[in-house]
Amino acid sequence: MTIEEIKKIAKEEIAKAENLIELDQLKIKYLGRNGYLTDVLKSLKDLAIEEKRKIGSEANALRQKLEEIFNERKNALVRNIEYKPIDISIPGKKKEIGHIHPISKIQEQIEDIFSSMGFTIAEGPEIETEFYNFDALNIPANHPARDMWDTFWLKPNPKAPTQQIENQKLLLRTHTSPVQIHYMENHQLPIRMICPGKCFRYEASDASHDFQFYQFEGLMIDKDTSLANFKFVISAFFKRFFNKKDLKVRIIPSYFPFVEPGLEVDISCPRCNQKGCPLCKNTGWIEVAGAGMVHPEVFKAVGYNPKYVQGFAFGFGIERMAMIKHNIPDIRLFNSGDLRFIKQF
């Protein structure tokens, strides 16, 4: 075929191409490695230089022209493709992801807030000696306040002599406060520490008590860490945690042997904003934490001189935070392993 013929037929055929596949085949037919136009170019080698130049440049012009026509036709075809509609009301294909347990989620949120205020995250053993769980925290044997913590005791190992000594008896920690002691024994001032952890109480379980639960302990001490500082830190935390700038924090007296004064922290009910609801039992306030200024006897137990050191400690239940935040009615759900519960978070 001559260049003129190619030009004419190709134009006609391209115009008739009904879909992209036909168009692709035409493109191969004319412009492909063995296509008509290539044939023309191949035949040039037998011609004289002048001829070569002339036909060569015509062929290249045609290639450009045809490319344009192909593209135009392609665009036209693409525009006119009729797609079968998708029923977008059909539910999306199920992709399973796993869920992080709400205790972990809340714990991470709490850690992040305190970390941003310069608190280090510490951990401690779940098995403790009587000394760390009680004596060092100013709760000696026969202290009436020991009744505040019903304790799981471990059967002493008859072959382990130290476990027979009075305050070395082993137990499951009833609170995370022993971590304060471990931490102070191994660190210098200033201390800003938080410690999440599992605790155990020997008590019957009900919707708001379980014999195993998670606590969060905080400790901030320096030469002059004050009660006013405590109020700032704890308010900043709860405001951030519940994401409410106008959340109110109330401090009322309480008693724990390892602090003086002992405090209870209440927050304005984040559910009803103090209008009254079942969560706050219509009082507008929810008890969220125990706290206080570290007792001098505790400083003495870790070898600090209480004359030069002061600061605060606080603790609260992680499940309780989750229950308030997510309206969870029963603490026993956390340890149930029930995926119908966990998959909601």
């Binding site: 009436p144 195993q212 901030m220 700032f232 003086e260 966990i342």
Partner: protein, 675 residues
């Protein structure tokens, strides 16, 4: 502890409504848990903190507290009564075995008593406070306890031994005694007794005995008001496992001033209700007065402690409202004497608490801490636990939390010996008798309960396990999980293995190895592997035996893994290193082969990787087929081989040469039949 609103009113001029009293107490002293409306009165149910028992476990003390809080006037009750000429000390003697167990012991005698029911007012008030009325004498002593906080005891004079000597002594081991409510107690030397030369008349500070109890025929009574070492009473109460209204007060300490005050008040009350003649004087064994508590309150220290200042005049006013005497003051320090009834006041912090709570904790300004900013220390354990949670959940596995306990049955099921685990002395139930040595037992229980609602369960847990050890028990962080599904044909082993491989890859660890494992009897032999990085064994993965499946998961196919979390953390390297992307295209060739059934994929991979280590980038198993048409004991495996060079575009010839080498190695070494 319950208090009567009307009773409080007797001591307080212009006492406001119960709601206001409850509110101020909760905000500044201790929590009023509820206000109970009664026919003619209100009962306030108060949660006294242990340190405030000594001064507030009686209505008089609580009234003083309320007066201090609301700045009201306290009406001091007057104690006046007539005494007979006959003296108490002519009729009884008191002997203390030692002066550390019993700190003070006062007795009085009242003659010509008639035992009968109490007057209405006393009955009503006892009831308001949750106590039962018994008879006029017992009720009177209980009434005075509720009024003053000092427990008292009355017993029958005629029933004590002839030498009429009251002895306060420790019990002998195995000595027995019958209480007023006819319970037999076996005692130890931890228990302090009130006795005579022949018998026991009461457990000191806790409970009266039947032998000298008041009966309908009692004519002469001994009143006892005493003060005991709180630790002794607490120990005693624990030993005999008996807690009473008296013991809860004694174990927290009582002011020594109250011993005499309360016995006189009781004598007065018994006379007021029209009974008996009070003999002259008190037999006061070991008369003691509380020592004066004088403390210096440093104003500058207070300002540092509180973080703000309260005007000195205001501080002084608060001390006065609380009946603290101001002895002396200078610019820096106020010297005060604490009232005798405030046993809880011992040091600076106690005084600071008094000032701050009365002033109002809520007026404390929230002040940001000052000081150097130090970034918090990094805690690897916490960081890695978070990453593991994130990765596993993104791979479709759910996180669960379980109790840290297992039963004896669980131990048997897992062939774990009892001497390897830690038993509890006081388990909550037999289901939770031991600290868990493995996370798997409870995970299997989760799996079973969830398969009632789901066809498939994929869960993991991060938690501590516990092992017995010679000196101190061993605690270990572990990561464990499982996949269990109802469709038995779809064995989850490789899925779980893939999840673990991805987990490690996400930490930059590409060389996790799985080695055959047959050490655990509860896993199916040939379907279990040890998980290793280098020489470090991290844990196991495997399908649980049908026996175990039957016990926990209704025979569904369940594959578990359990690893030592700390070993994982030390093995993984946080710093993922960037590998440059090749500029040259990859070439993929597939290769299928038939091999003997016992040939493991690991063997084949080793041969391939050993043969070509220059341009082979990756090998991927994409198909396994076992079928009759292959012949017995044969399987067909297909791999993608990915070739890529970092220096040039690979030619067909290069790839072909390499592939030839690999094929001939496979033929040579494992007799593979390449298809």
């Amino acid at each position: 502890m319950r208090f009567s609103y009307n009773w409080l009113k007797e001591y307080i001029v212009n006492l406001p409504k119960p709601e206001i009293v409850a509110d101020i107490l909760t905000r500044k002293s201790f929590e009023v848990e509820e206000i109970i409306k009664l026919e003619n009165d209100y009962a306030l149910n108060i949660k006294l903190s242990p340190d405030r028992f000594p001064d507030c476990s009686g209505h008089i003390g609580l009234a003083k507290e309320i007066c201090a809080l609301l700045n009201l006037k306290f009406k001091e009750p007057k104690i006046i009564f007539k005494e007979a000429k006959k003296k108490t000390n002519q009729l009884i003697k008191v002997k203390l075995e030692n002066k550390t167990d019993c700190l003070r012991y006062c007795s009085r005698i009242i003659q010509n008593i008639q035992i009968k029911p109490s007057p209405k007012l006393i009955k009503e008030r006892l009831e308001t406070c949750g106590m039962q009325s018994i008879n006029n004498i017992v009720d009177a002593s209980n009434y005075v306890m509720l009024e003053t906080g000092q427990p008292l005891h009355c017993f029958d004079y005629d029933s004590i031994a002839k030498d009429k000597t009251i002895i306060i002594r420790r019990a002998k081991n195995k000595e027995r005694m019958e209480t007023l409510d006819h319970k037999m107690l076996e005692l130890t030397s931890d228990v302090l007794l009130i006795a005579d030369s022949q018998k026991i008349s009461a457990i000191a500070g806790i409970k009266g005995g039947v032998s000298t109890g008041i009966s309908d025929t009692t004519k002469t009574i001994i009143l006892e008001s005493a003060n005991f070492d709180p630790a002794v009473i607490r120990q005693s109460s624990k030993t005999i496992n008996l807690i009473t209204d008296a013991s809860i007060r004694f174990e927290k300490g009582i002011s020594l001033d109250l011993t005499k005050y309360a016995i006189n008040r009781l004598a007065q009350l018994i006379q007021q209700i029209g009974e008996g003649e009070i003999l002259g004087g008190i037999v006061d064994a070991c008369p003691k007065k509380p020592s004066k508590k004088i403390l210096g309150f440093n104003l500058k220290q207070f300002q540092t402690f509180a973080g703000f200042a309260i005007p000195t005049a205001e501080i002084q006013k608060i001390f006065q409202r609380l009946h603290f005497k101001i002895l002396k003051k200078n610019k820096e320090t106020i010297f005060i004497e604490a009232p005798a009834w405030r046993l809880d006041i011992e040091m600076f912090g106690d005084l600071a608490e008094e000032i701050l709570r009365i002033y109002d904790y809520n007026k404390i300004p929230a002040t940001p801490p000052q000081g150097i900013i130090i970034p918090p220390e990094k805690n690897d354990n916490v960081i890695w636990k978070r990453k593991i949670r994130k990765t596993l959940t993104s791979l479709g596995v759910n996180e669960v939390y379980n109790y840290s306990f297992v039963s004896e049955k669980d131990l048997e099921n897992f062939y774990i010996k009892k001497n390897e685990v830690i038993p509890l002395k006081n388990p909550i139930s037999s289901e939770y008798a031991f600290l868990r040595p493995t996370l798997i037992a409870n995970l299997l229980k989760n799996s079973s309960s969830n398969l009632r609602f789901f066809d498939e369960v994929k869960i993991f847990e991060i938690g501590k396990t516990f092992q017995s050890a010679p000196i101190y028990p061993h605690e270990e962080w572990r990561l464990a999980g499982l996949i269990s599904r109802k469709n038995k044909k779809d064995n989850p082993f490789l899925e779980l293995k893939g999840i673990l491989e991805k987990l490690f890859q996400s930490f930059g660890v590409w060389d996790v190895e799985f080695h055959n494992w047959s050490s655990d009897l509860w896993l199916i032999k040939g379907r279990a592997a040890e998980i290793k990085i280098g020489n470090e064994s991290l844990g196991i993965i495997g399908e649980i035996s049908p026996e175990l499946a039957q016990k926990y998961t209704d025979e569904f196919a369940t594959v578990i893994f359990e690893m030592d979390l700390e070993k994982i953390i030390t093995s993984i390297n946080e710093e993922l290193e960037y590998e440059p992307l090749s500029k040259f295209p990859a070439v993929i060739r597939d290769i299928s082969m038939v091999v003997n059934n016992e040939t493991s994929v690991a063997e084949i991979l080793n041969i391939i990787n050993d043969t070509e280590n220059k341009i082979l980038r990756d090998v991927d198993l994409f198909d396994i087929y076992e079928g009759e048409n292959l012949g017995n004991a044969k399987k067909s495996l297909s791999f993608h081989l990915i070739f890529q060079s970092e220096t040039n575009t690979l030619t067909n010839e290069e790839v072909g040469r390499s592939l030839e080498k690999i094929i001939s190695a496979l033929k040579d070494k494992i007799n593979a039949e390449i298809r």
